[in-house]
């Protein structure tokens, strides 16, 4: 017999534990394969090497600045978008997910078209006779790019948090005559807070492990991150041990930050909501002006680089490139891989959350944390280490070219787990709060419960997580580049082939295809997963 407040130990803990064990074993096996491939590690080289400490320090500073500057404006934007409904708001929200999922090189070239030495701003300043001397290189450039990647998505996730606040609470606040500040502090902040720390973790990890951005915009070796040091040790020197140790250092820092944030995060109970629409009251002109300003700045920041990408792609090569059979192959492969890894990612994430939720309700925080962190593991290993490790493991047993599809699907799915996790975490937890006792009393369990409860009420959110995971895989260059292949192409891979053969105009067209694919996928999944969320 179950006590009313203590659900009995059930099978619902297993799904997450299984996934978690898989993730942890992959990590352990990859690291051990790297560490045992060659000779012993020369520790003194690490200890006495001031360069390493410098690199760690720089990576930290860079990631912290990037995270801070991405999250603070995101709070303001989320507030503004919550209060205002205007023409094109939906489009803006779609665009918010796009910036993170495009191949990094593409986005950076778009940013450079705007901010670069011969960019639009330079031309505008030239017209106006102003001296433009901003260079998007070095720390400035890296931070700018990271803000561009992360700030829109952070705003979007925070907006969902605000929309999750039950209308009853807002009604109550209005009745009590609270002003904006009080509403923010008392009602909205707790909701935002439970989302801010996890997002910060994610952004921080992304910036911490960021590699392509740093390599293009770094400006030189004085701007070196750990991820870059890993790449270098796997390049000319081919020092697998060093790479593994550096990757472990990276993993350690990422997970520490994640755990710290998890521990700071409080769990609040969310009441019931009748899903009413809330019309914002006591609106003032000043507030209108403020919101307009925030949204305008966002649009001015967000749109030009994306526009630049599109304008670049509408060149004279457009039709020839579209006729190319290789592009079609790359397109089909990309779609297949992204849909499959999206499905796999959502399945893994739901399984993980299923158990975490169960553990949370039982207040066994320690195991909860282990499962949560295991979801972040693969994300904090650099791509290169993951690929090299997998290669070391598998190349003796099987011809890897047969496995290209499955490996790509698997790695992309695992990389996307943290995002899907963030999108689904709170909604799933809130749902459990609401229906857990009911489920126990009616004895609805397992897959049955998922079908009846989760799928029905979280359709949109699951759709969102799915589409985001899909998009991430479309833009991901992935581990494929390291396995080498004969005729296997994905869109980002094809793009790199074009760039390495001087075909920059053709590459711009491929970028447009990627952009359109992400966008249409997003809209399609939204449409299929029922009612609009934003």
């Amino acid at each position: 017999m179950a006590k009313c407040c203590q659900p009995k130990v059930s099978n619902s803990i297993w799904p997450g534990i299984v996934i978690s064990i898989i993730l942890i074993s992959i990590t352990v096996v990859i690291f051990s394969s790297l560490l045992f491939f060659f000779s012993k590690i020369r520790w003194e080289e690490f200890i006495y090497d001031g360069y390493l400490f410098y690199v760690i320090k720089f990576t930290f500073i860079q990631a912290s600045i990037s995270t801070g500057l991405a999250i603070i404006p995101a709070i303001f934007l989320a507030k503004a978008l919550f209060r205002r409904h205007f023409l094109g708001r939906k489009l803006l929200l779609h665009l918010c997910s796009i910036t993170l999922v495009l191949p990094v090189l593409v986005t950076i070239l778009g940013l450079l078209t705007v901010y670069g030495r011969m960019g639009w701003i330079f031309k505008l300043c030239n017209l106006l006779g102003i001296n433009y001397n901003f260079t998007p290189y070095g720390l400035k450039g890296i931070v700018l790019a990271h803000i561009f990647f992360n700030f829109p998505l952070a705003s979007k996730i925070l907006l969902f948090s605000l929309e999750n606040i039950s209308v009853e609470q807002r009604q109550l606040a209005a009745q009590l005559g609270m002003n904006q500040w009080h509403i923010f502090c008392i009602i909205e902040w707790p909701y935002l807070r439970r989302q801010i720390l996890p997002i910060c973790t994610l952004i921080f990890m992304l910036c911490f492990t960021s590699f392509a951005t740093v390599l293009i915009l770094g400006g030189g070796p004085n701007v070196t991150t750990i991820a870059l040091a890993i790449y270098q040790s796997l390049s000319y020197d081919f020092d697998l041990n060093k790479a593994a140790v550096l990757a472990l250092i990276q993993l350690f820092f990422c997970l520490s930050v994640a755990l710290l944030n998890q521990n700071l995060n409080i769990i609040i109970s969310v009441g019931n909501s009748h899903n009413l629409k809330w019309k914002h009251l006591n609106d003032s002109n000043l507030l209108k002006l403020w919101d307009t300003l925030i949204i305008s700045i966002t649009i001015i920041f967000l749109i030009p680089p994306l526009l630049a990408i599109i304008i670049d792609s509408l060149n004279f090569r457009l039709l020839q490139v579209l006729h190319n059979i290789k592009l079609l192959q790359a397109f089909t492969n990309s779609i297949l891989i992204s849909i499959n890894s999206g499905i796999l990612c959502v399945i893994c994430t739901v399984m993980l959350l299923w158990s975490i939720r169960e553990l949370r309700l039982r207040h066994s925080i320690f195991f909860c944390r282990i499962l949560e962190v295991s979801g972040l593991l693969i994300f904090s290993i650099s791509d290169l280490v993951l690929a090299t490790g997998l290669f070391l493991l598998l190349h003796n047993f099987i011809n890897l070219s047969y496995l290209t599809y499955s490996l790509l699907i698997l790695t992309n799915a695992l990389m996307a787990i943290p995002y899907a996790f963030k999108i689904l975490e709170n909604p799933m937890y809130d749902l459990a709060e609401r229906y857990n006792l009911l489920c126990i009393s009616l004895n609805i369990k397992g897959i049955n419960r998922f079908n009846l409860i989760e799928l029905k009420s979280l359709k949109k959110t699951i759709g969102q997580a799915f589409s985001f995971a899909c998009m991430l895989s479309i833009g991901d260059f992935g581990v494929i580049s390291l396995f080498g292949n004969e005729n296997f192409l994905t869109l980002p891979y094809y793009l790199y082939q074009q760039l390495s053969s001087y075909r920059n105009n053709d590459a711009a067209v491929t970028v447009l295809i990627i952009l359109l694919l992400c966008f249409s996928l997003f809209i399609l999944i939204k449409y299929l997963s029922g009612k609009k969320y934003d």
Binding site: Y51, Y496, S500
Partner: protein, 330 residues
């Protein structure tokens, strides 16, 4: 029904019989196997004479090829590795995976005498800084002028730790400045916009107008001339000389088809294959054949520079360290 079954069986069996030809596996770099690279044409020409299937496997760049071999060792499925360069030869030799090839290298026509029988050159070019004639009117005629000029030129080059052109520049500066290379790097760092991972990123940024000069090859303008019909890109020729990059192929000792591999090594020196390199790989052929006409508009450096392979692997880390520190102290 019976007939249908027979047809199905025949189709099923025929799928096996197609695979009877021997397969020759060649590891190379990505731009080689792309639609616009020499790969597809080479495959077509070679398969006509060899009665085999040529399997081209593309990896990132020369260094990745070497690292792949370091992992696979004697179990490597590759028969041939094509795409290492003269700066990696010593490292590649030390793996002990390559064997001497019996190709006749007397027909080679390189800027230098080639004395290595393990690695056979298939094309070469010189590292050079490319600029846009529309933007740069006064062109530096020496590396020294490029580095020391008071003009606010902007330069993009590749990271010597992660790319072959970057390593080329490192060696180039080391060759010219020797013990004064620290000062040269410091001067250069003032003009440096950014240092990218590989060639594609650097060249892409240059085409975007992010820099006045980009490190590439002296034969790079060929692409713009032939494919885009643009005459405004040129390589700045320096009187100190240009560092030479020679791309080579090598045959693996563990090859399951040594005869076929040998045939391929012969093939890469044949005029048929050599002819396609200047218009697909934008590099110079290594045997004496006429170049396409448009190459007349591309001046060739008069003096070539290079280190011997042993010195490179010996001092590599030291030079990298030197560059790192010099560029760091802006």
């Amino acid at each position: 029904m019976f007939f249908k079954l027979i047809i199905v069986i025949i189709i099923f069996l025929s799928s096996f019989s197609i695979q009877t030809k021997p397969i020759l596996t060649v590891y190379t770099y990505n731009s080689f196997i792309s639609d616009w690279g020499p790969g597809p044409i080479a495959k077509y020409i070679f398969e006509q004479v060899c009665n085999c299937n040529l399997k081209l496997i593309g990896l990132n760049d020369g260094i990745s090829l070497l690292n792949r071999l370091r992992i696979e060792g004697k179990n490597s499925p590759a028969d041939i590795v094509l795409g290492l360069d003269n700066n990696l030869i010593d490292l590649a030799k030390k793996t002990g995976l390559f064997i001497e090839s019996k190709v006749d290298i007397s027909q080679l026509k390189l800027p230098i005498a080639w004395k290595n029988n393990i690695f056979i050159p298939y094309d070469y070019s010189y590292f050079a800084f490319i600029y846009d004639k529309k933007r740069i009117t006064e062109v530096p005629n020496s590396l020294d002028e490029l580095i020391n000029s008071p003009k606010p030129w902007k330069i993009i080059y590749q990271d010597p730790r992660t790319s072959t052109p970057g390593l080329g520049l490192l060696l180039w500066i080391q060759k010219i400045y020797k013990k004064y290379s620290v000062q040269a790097w410091k001067k250069l760092s003032i003009k440096t916009v950014t240092v990218t991972r590989g060639w594609s990123e650097a060249y892409g940024l240059f085409l975007k107008g992010e820099s006045d000069f980009v490190l590439s090859y002296s034969s790079s303008p060929g692409f713009h001339l032939l494919i885009e019909n643009k005459k405004n890109y040129a390589a700045a020729l320096f009187y100190e000389g240009h560092y030479l990059q020679i791309e080579v192929a090598g045959q693996l000792a563990t090859s399951k088809n040594p005869k076929l591999a040998q045939q391929f090594m012969q093939f890469i020196l044949s005029p048929k294959f050599q002819r396609i390199l200047p218009i697909t790989n934008w590099m110079y052929p290594v045997i004496d054949i006429p170049l396409p006409d448009f190459y007349n508009n591309i001046p060739v450096p008069k003096k070539s520079l290079q280190f011997n392979a042993e010195d490179i692997s010996k001092y590599h880390n030291q030079w990298i360290y030197l560059w790192q520190n010099a560029v760091n102290q802006k």
